[in-house]
């Protein structure tokens, strides 16, 4: 319990505007259900980013309607029915453009911070 509270003192919010990109990136490896995505983002980011299910599932709906994801109900490995999301072709394209955009901006920010130092 104690560890949990100490963790929540740090900011674990997903950076604004990057939620979509993180979801798309995560799904580019394999189809996953909502919790799978949340867990993977947390693991890969080493706990820096945590996703709230309400925001995550709403974002999934939005991406699905945008045509970047397809969804279907399937069994999980422990035979539980779950909604799995899969990247579509236009989702892939979207991920590429968002990644490129992010890289460009992150590099710019890094340069700025360095220049200041």
């Amino acid at each position: 319990m104690l560890t949990f509270f100490s963790m929540s003192d740090e900011n674990t919010d997903v950076i604004q505007g990057t939620l979509d990109m993180l979801i798309l990136k995560t799904l580019s490896l394999e189809p996953m259900h909502g919790f799978g995505i949340a867990r993977r983002v947390e693991q890969v980011s080493r706990g820096v980013f945590k996703m709230n299910p309400g925001s995550l599932l709403t974002a999934l709906q939005r991406l699905e309607r945008a045509g970047w994801l397809d969804a279907e109900w399937r069994q999980t490995e422990n035979s539980r029915r779950a909604k799995f999301y899969k990247l579509t072709r236009s989702g892939k394209k979207q991920l590429e453009s968002e990644t490129a955009d992010w890289t460009r901006r992150a590099a710019a920010i890094a340069r700025l911070l360095k220049a200041e130092g």
Binding site: M1, F4, H33, G34, F35, G36, A38, R39, K50, N52, P53, G54, S55, L57, T58, Q61, R62, E64, R65, A66, G67, T76, N78, R80, R81, A82, K83, S90
Partner: protein, 875 residues
């Protein structure tokens, strides 16, 4: 964004709501199960794992709500819910709904009907090819400011040859003429036009061909209806011969239905481009219409006409002095006269709608005050301003839309009644119908009405302070001051608007009464009028016609019941007539800039006596005045005064350009008449005997003064005419009917504005009643209290009536100010009445005060019957 997915997903969700909710619930549940399982895998107990998952991810219910509220369909659903709620509220308050809907139906319906007429007549383009390039030529005198819609042949010919901006110019004239077919003759609108007419209008015949420059005379084109009525079909009419004024015409072509320019023409007779007989620069025998060359504007044409007018003034200093040619869009020329009347009607129905809106606003205010508690509670629970205003606006919108729909249904018959009632001078009457444009207008009007009438109530709802509102209790008589002031203000506005309508109606009715009671200069009662048209196309024919008419007058005079009979070309309010300049010899005030002007009439002996026109000096025409004897004339008093001053005109010489240059000796002076309608001033008239002007004496009115009802003599008169000459075309009416017809426009205006004022009055009455009834109901407790302390019934009734009277007086005062500003706009429509007519103002004020008191009587009565015990106990 994938719009298609957005739409289909949203729609699927709207139609399969339960399924979608289950899916969302399951997905969230699965998420939390997995999260819990993950904590268990890390070694927590099942119970701790569940708690840890909730601490980390929050509540499953919140997550579910958040996911479920995504999507446009949620907004749509909540809006639909609000709409349904508003509908339910309306259903639960039938009295409010019905009153508001009917009020708006009336207001919107009246507006739709009038706008239909305005749109079809004033706004819609003319149904002709190149309608926006058609223009008519008028002649304007720069010295007097007078404009006539006519031109002279030579002036127009110069325009035709010199104005480069005009592609074609056509001259035409005509009117109601007798058309003879094989077995009968009938009055028909005939237009005599040159072949350029078709270059201007570019009509395509449905059968045969149009006449060309080669068909100078003897050719005609007829309307589809004329062909069908007289020959069975368009094809059958081709090659047939008809006679107009005795001249045989072969039908060369038939025009499709819908083209009847000018003025319901049925027969178009071919004329040469120039007719020497009518060629004179002071003879305004023609109307002219031209087609502006594409790429040129009306302004360019006017500039050319300005230059040309200048050149003509120099070239013909006598004939063309001060003469200026003017081009005017055809649409404006056709509808210009109807414009003020239609705009007046439009403004009037605008007022009606305003009153209707005020009534509905008031009804809504009453309703929203009743639900102040509901609104306060909603606000206390956290509804935003918008959320509180929305139901008020939605309710209003529904009422307006239903009212608008009902209004459109009401407008259909209303338009038909309007067209049927309209004077026949109303242009384009056959083109009037409800169309898409009108429906869009009505829809916009309904929405606007909703917004206007719900604005105040909605804003008030938004301002409700929950803490304050919950403390007040309306049934305890504790209303806030602002509320009743606002309602009073609305009643004042309503009374003011109605007052303006009532004043308008009063002014127009007063005008009508003035016109009907006017001394016209002749006696209209018991006067049978026969339009008689004897065919004549040569000098001999004309002389014979006059002879036959004289013989006829003798026979008709002996018919029992006939007290007098005479013939006249130029009967007041009649079909025929002429006018122009004249010159006199001898002394008299002469205005160098202005030749004296008069109406010209051609009469038989006995005309003045038959008509009851007083003979002031000298003698009437008699059998001794023949074509061979010296020419004579009788003048009216205005001619005597303007040309001879105080000198005795009898024996003086006078000359006019009617048909001969001969000097005429004035033999008599008669009283003036109001020539075109009772609205005219009594004017100068120059009378000449039929025998001496036979060209103007074959199309006449026969007037018969009768001792019996005029129309009972119809058969006897017709038999007598047929015996003298069966080819004389006839039509019967009475002088009363003709005079009535001549003030049809004034009557139409007065009737419509009065009905609208009546509607306004009814609405205002409803408004006052509503306010009074509401305030009495609201103050029941207070009234009961006062009565318990011994207040007299009279005092309580007086208080209610006094309040109503105060509101009415406020409204009347505001209305007087409004009327003062608006009355100037109708000055042109008033005859014998000043715009600030104190009688109309006074009557309107009295009417509104009485209406307000009448409306307050029932609530006042109710107030005096409040039982103190019941009122104080009620809760």
């Amino acid at each position: 964004m994938d719009l298609w997915r957005q739409l289909t997903y949203g729609l699927r969700r709207l139609t399969h709501r339960a399924q979608h909710d289950r899916d969302v619930a399951e997905e969230v549940e699965q998420y939390f199960e997995e999260a819990t399982a993950a904590w268990v895998a890390r070694g927590l107990s099942a119970e701790d794992a569940r708690r840890a998952a909730r601490l980390e991810a929050g509540s499953a219910t919140v997550a579910r709500e958040q996911v479920s509220s995504y999507g446009w369909e949620n907004l749509a659903r909540s809006f639909a819910g609000d709409v349904r709620f508003a509908a339910r509220q309306l259903w639960k308050h039938p009295a409010f709904t019905l009153t508001a809907t009917l009020t708006l139906a009336l207001g919107i319906g009246a507006n739709t009907a009038i706008f239909t007429v305005v749109q079809s007549v004033l706004l819609a383009p003319l149904p002709y090819q190149n309608a926006d390039r058609l223009a008519v030529l008028d002649t304007h005198w720069t010295n007097s400011g007078h404009t006539t819609p006519r031109v002279t042949g030579p002036d127009a010919a110069d325009v035709r040859e010199q104005a480069r901006s005009l592609e074609a110019v056509s001259l035409y004239y005509g009117g109601n003429l007798s058309v003879e077919l094989r077995d009968h003759s009938a009055y028909t609108v005939v237009t005599l036009a040159d072949a350029n007419f078709w270059r201007v209008f570019e009509v395509r015949p449905m059968a045969g061909r149009l006449f060309t420059d080669a068909d100078a005379h003897g050719a005609a084109v007829v309307s589809e209806q004329f062909a069908r009525d007289n020959f069975g079909s368009a094809q059958a009419a081709l090659g047939q011969v008809l006679h107009v004024e005795g001249e045989p015409l072969e039908i060369k072509g038939v025009l499709p239905a819908g083209f009847d320019f000018p003025g319901k023409t049925q027969v178009w007779e071919a004329r040469a481009l120039r007719e020497p007989a009518l060629d004179h620069r002071t003879a305004f025998n023609y109307k002219a219409v031209g087609l502006i060359r594409s790429g040129f504007s009306l302004k360019a044409t006017q500039a050319e006409l300005d230059g040309l007018s200048q050149r003509l003034q120099t070239a013909y200093p006598d004939e063309n002095r001060n003469k200026q040619l003017i081009a005017q869009p055809l649409q404006q020329a056709l509808t210009g006269d109807a414009r003020p009347t239609l705009l007046l009607l439009w403004a009037t129905v605008g007022f009606i709608l305003l009153i209707a809106c005020v009534n509905v606003t008031h009804l809504q205010l009453v309703r929203s005050m009743e639900r102040q508690r509901e609104i306060a509670i909603r606000k206390a629970l956290g509804s935003s301003r918008g959320q509180v205003m929305q139901p008020v606006i939605l309710e209003s919108l529904q009422v307006s839309l239903i009212g608008g729909a009902a209004g459109v249904l009401f407008a259909f018959p209303a338009v038909r009644v309007l067209v049927a009632m309209a004077p026949k001078e109303l242009p384009r009457a056959n083109e009037i119908h409800l169309n898409g444009g009108v429906l869009v207008f009505t829809l916009a009007l309904a929405v606007l009405t909703a917004l206007v009438s719900s604005m105040l109530p909605a804003l008030r709802a938004a301002k409700v302070d929950p803490a304050e509102a919950l403390k007040y209790d309306i049934s305890r008589g504790m209303s806030r001051h602002g509320a009743s002031r606002l309602r009073d203000g609305l009643v004042v506005a309503e009374v003011a608007a109605t007052f303006v309508l009532a004043v308008g109606a009063g002014l127009l009715l007063h005008t009508m009464m003035t016109l009907m009671a006017r001394d016209l200069g002749y006696e209209t009662r018991q006067l049978l009028v026969v339009d008689a048209d004897a065919p004549a196309h040569s000098e001999e024919d004309a002389h014979r016609a006059v002879q036959q008419f004289n013989e006829l007058f003798g026979r008709l005079a002996s018919v029992p019941g006939v007290a007098g009979v005479a013939g006249i070309m130029g009967l007041p309010t009649g079909l025929y007539g002429s006018n122009g300049y004249y010159t006199v010899t001898g002394a008299g005030p002469v205005n160098v800039n202005h030749s004296p002007y008069a109406d010209f009439s051609v009469a038989s002996p006995g005309y003045f006596e038959t008509m009851g026109i007083p003979m002031k000096r000298g003698r009437d025409f008699n059998a001794g005045d023949t074509f061979e004897s010296a020419f004579v004339a009788v003048i009216s008093e205005s001619v005597a005064k303007q040309s001879f001053g105080n000198a005795d005109p009898v024996g003086k010489q006078i000359r006019c350009g009617l048909d001969s240059d001969k000097w005429m000796t004035v033999v008599g002076v008669v009283g003036d008449v109001r020539q075109d309608s009772p609205a005219e001033k009594p004017g100068p008239t120059l009378y000449m005997p039929m025998t001496q002007h036979p060209y103007y004496a074959n199309q006449i009115h026969i007037v018969l003064r009768t001792d019996v009802k005029p129309l009972t003599l119809l058969n006897t008169v017709q038999e007598a005419i047929a015996r003298v000459n069966p080819s004389i075309a006839t039509r019967y009416t009475t002088m009363d009917a003709m005079v009535n017809q001549s003030i049809a426009v004034e009557r139409f205006r007065a009737a419509l504005i009065s009905s609208f004022a009546g509607v306004g009055l009814l609405l205002a009455m409803l408004g006052v009643y509503g306010t009074m009834a509401y305030s009495v109901a609201q103050r029941t407790f207070e009234i009961g209290m006062r009565m318990a302390f011994g207040a007299e019934k009279g005092a309580i009734l007086g208080a209610v009536l006094g309040h109503a009277a105060k509101l009415a007086c406020g409204g009347i005062a505001t209305g007087v100010v409004l009327s003062l500003t608006l009355a100037r706009l109708v000055t042109g429509m008033l005859v014998g009445v000043r715009p600030m007519d104190p009688v109309s103002l006074g009557l309107a004020g009295l009417l509104l005060l009485l209406t307000a008191l009448a409306a307050a009587l029932a609530p006042g009565w109710k107030a005096t019957h409040v039982d103190p015990m019941v009122a104080l106990r009620a809760e």
